[in-house]
C-alpha cells in the first residue's frame, strides 16, 4: 500500500468500487474525453455529491442542479486534477460544496431558509446509506472523529459547513465575538484531520 488516504473512494458498486486511486484514474481518463470512465466516476461518487448538496441547499430540485453543475465542471476540468495533491473525492466534494454554498447564499434574498432551521433531510440521508456497509463504516469513523471535537467546535463547524454560513454569521448566531468562530472552525478541522489521519502531499 503505497499511500494511505483518509478520504475513501465513495460508495461501492456491484461491479466493484474503484479505490481512491481508481477514482483518480477515472478522472484521468475522463480528461481524455472517455465518457464511460466518467460515468463510472459518477456512479461511484454521485450519492456523496448529491447527499452533500441536499444537506446544504435542502431543496432537492436545487440540489440536483448543484450536483449537475459540479459534475459538469469536473468533466470539463478533469485534466486539472492532480492526484498528488489531494483525493479525487475531496476535489469533487469541494466543488460541490462551493456551488451549494453559493446557491444558498444567493437564495437568501428569497429567504428560503428562514422557516425550518432543523436539518430535516438528515434522516433520509442516513437511511439511504444504510445498506452500504463500507459507507456506513466510513461514516462511523467520521462520526467518531467528530466525537473528538468539543461541542463548541462542532457546532461552529457544522453551521459553517452544512449551514453555508460565513464565520461572521456563525459568530453572531452563537453569540461569539467576531474572530472566535473562525478559530473554532479551524481548530475543529485540525482536530478532525488529525483524528482521521488525513494526509496530503
Amino acid at each position: 500500500m503505497d499511500h494511505l488516504r483518509a478520504v475513501p473512494s465513495g460508495a461501492p458498486s456491484e461491479e466493484g468500487a474503484p479505490g481512491a486511486s481508481g477514482l483518480a484514474d477515472l478522472l484521468k481518463r475522463s480528461s481524455r474525453g472517455d465518457g464511460d470512465a466518467f460515468a463510472r466516476f459518477y456512479d461511484s461518487t454521485s450519492a456523496r455529491a448529491f447527499g452533500l448538496a441536499v444537506r446544504v441547499v435542502r431543496d432537492r430540485a436545487q440540489a440536483e442542479e448543484v450536483a449537475q453543475e459540479a459534475f459538469l465542471e469536473v468533466w470539463r476540468t478533469a485534466s486539472r486534477f492532480d492526484s498528488g495533491r489531494g483525493s479525487a473525492i475531496g476535489w469533487l466534494l469541494t466543488i460541490v460544496h462551493r456551488k451549494a454554498v453559493d446557491r444558498v447564499r444567493s437564495a437568501e434574498a428569497a429567504s428560503r431558509r428562514d422557516t425550518n432551521y432543523e436539518h430535516d433531510n438528515n434522516a433520509v440521508a442516513h437511511d439511504a446509506t444504510a445498506e452500504a456497509a463500507e459507507a456506513a463504516m466510513e461514516a462511523r469513523r467520521v462520526r467518531s472523529a467528530l466525537g473528538e471535537l468539543t461541542s463548541v467546535q462542532r457546532e461552529a463547524l457544522e453551521l459553517a459547513y452544512f449551514g453555508g454560513y460565513t464565520h461572521t454569521e456563525v459568530a453572531r448566531m452563537l453569540d461569539l465575538p467576531v474572530g472566535t468562530a473562525k478559530t473554532r472552525i479551524r481548530d475543529g478541522l485540525i482536530r478532525m484531520r488529525d483524528a482521521l489521519g488525513v494526509t496530503t502531499s
Binding site: 478520504v7 470539463r76 486539472r80 483525493s87 453559493d102 446509506t129 473562525k182 485540525i190 484531520r193 496530503t200
Partner: protein, 244 residues
C-alpha cells in the same frame, strides 16, 4: 488577531464572504504554510460529507451524461520545466490570443494545495476590436441589455468563443479617481474582468474568468487605475446570463 492566516479554516469550508475570500486568496500567493494547511483542512472538511450519502434520481445521471457530450474537457496545463505545481480548477482555458489584463491572477486549487500563476501585468493592453467583433458575429452570440440612468449598456457573449464583450457607447466618465470595473460571476464568486474609463465603446471581458460559463456579469465603480480584486461597491449594473 485579525491575522489573515486564521481565515484558513473558514476558507476551507467556504465560510468566508467575497471580500475575505479575495483577501485570503491574495494571502495564499505568498504563504506556503497556508497553502499546505488549506489542502489538509479541505481533505478533512470533505469527510464531514461522508455521513451524508443520498442516492440521486436517475434523471440526474442522464442529464450529467448528456451534458458532457457538449463540453470539451480542458487540456492539461502545460507548465514550464521546473514549475512543478499545477494550478487546478480556477485557471481557465483561454482561447487563442486573449491576453489577460488582470495583474496577478490567483489560481486556486480545489481540495489541493494552491499553485498560482502570474499573468502578464499589462493593464494597458487594449482589448482588440476584432476580438469583440468576433463575439458580435458569433452564431451563438447572446445579448443582454440593461440601462442605468438612461444609459444603455449591452453585454454580448459567445459560449463557443468563450468571450464576452461590453458595449457602452454612451457611458459617462466615472467619478474622479475611479474606474468602472467589469466582473464575471462564475457562479462561485465575482471574478475581475477588466476596467474601463467610460471612453471605450467596446470592452472585452478579460482576466481569469470564463465568459462562456459565467452565470452573469456586473459593473461596479472601483478605485482607479486598476480597480479591485473583489467588488467594493454595489453593482451599477448586473446581468444574468441564461443557462446553457
Amino acid at each position: 488577531m485579525n491575522d489573515v492566516h486564521t481565515l484558513v479554516g473558514a476558507y476551507a469550508v467556504d465560510a468566508v464572504d467575497d471580500v475575505e475570500r479575495a483577501a485570503f486568496e491574495r494571502h495564499l500567493l505568498d504563504c506556503q504554510t497556508c497553502r499546505l494547511e488549506l489542502a489538509s483542512l479541505r481533505e478533512a472538511a470533505v469527510l464531514l460529507a461522508a455521513v451524508e450519502q443520498v442516492e440521486p434520481p436517475v434523471r440526474l445521471r442522464e442529464q450529467v451524461l448528456a451534458g458532457i457530450g457538449s463540453i470539451r474537457p480542458l487540456p492539461p496545463r502545460v507548465v514550464p520545466e521546473e514549475e512543478v505545481e499545477v494550478a487546478p480548477e480556477r485557471r481557465r482555458f483561454r482561447p487563442v490570443a486573449l491576453v489577460a489584463a488582470a495583474a496577478a491572477v490567483i489560481a486556486l486549487g480545489v481540495g489541493t494545495p494552491v499553485a498560482w500563476e502570474q499573468l502578464t501585468d499589462d493593464t494597458s493592453q487594449a482589448p482588440t476590436v476584432s476580438a469583440g467583433d468576433q463575439v458580435l458575429a458569433a452564431d451563438d452570440a447572446e445579448e443582454y441589455t440593461q440601462s442605468v440612468n438612461g444609459t444603455e449598456v449591452t453585454v454580448v457573449r459567445s459560449r463557443s468563443l468563450n468571450r464576452a464583450v461590453l458595449l457602452a457607447p454612451d457611458m459617462p466618465a466615472p467619478p474622479a479617481g475611479k474606474v468602472y470595473e467589469l466582473w464575471l460571476d462564475q457562479g462561485d464568486g465575482m471574478v475581475p474582468a477588466g476596467v474601463m474609463t467610460g471612453e471605450e465603446e467596446t470592452v472585452l471581458f478579460e482576466g481569469e474568468g470564463d465568459p462562456g460559463t459565467a452565470v452573469g456579469a456586473a459593473i461596479t465603480v472601483e478605485p482607479a487605475p486598476d480597480g479591485s480584486q473583489a467588488p467594493t461597491t454595489p453593482a451599477l449594473l448586473s446581468f444574468t446570463f441564461k443557462k446553457a
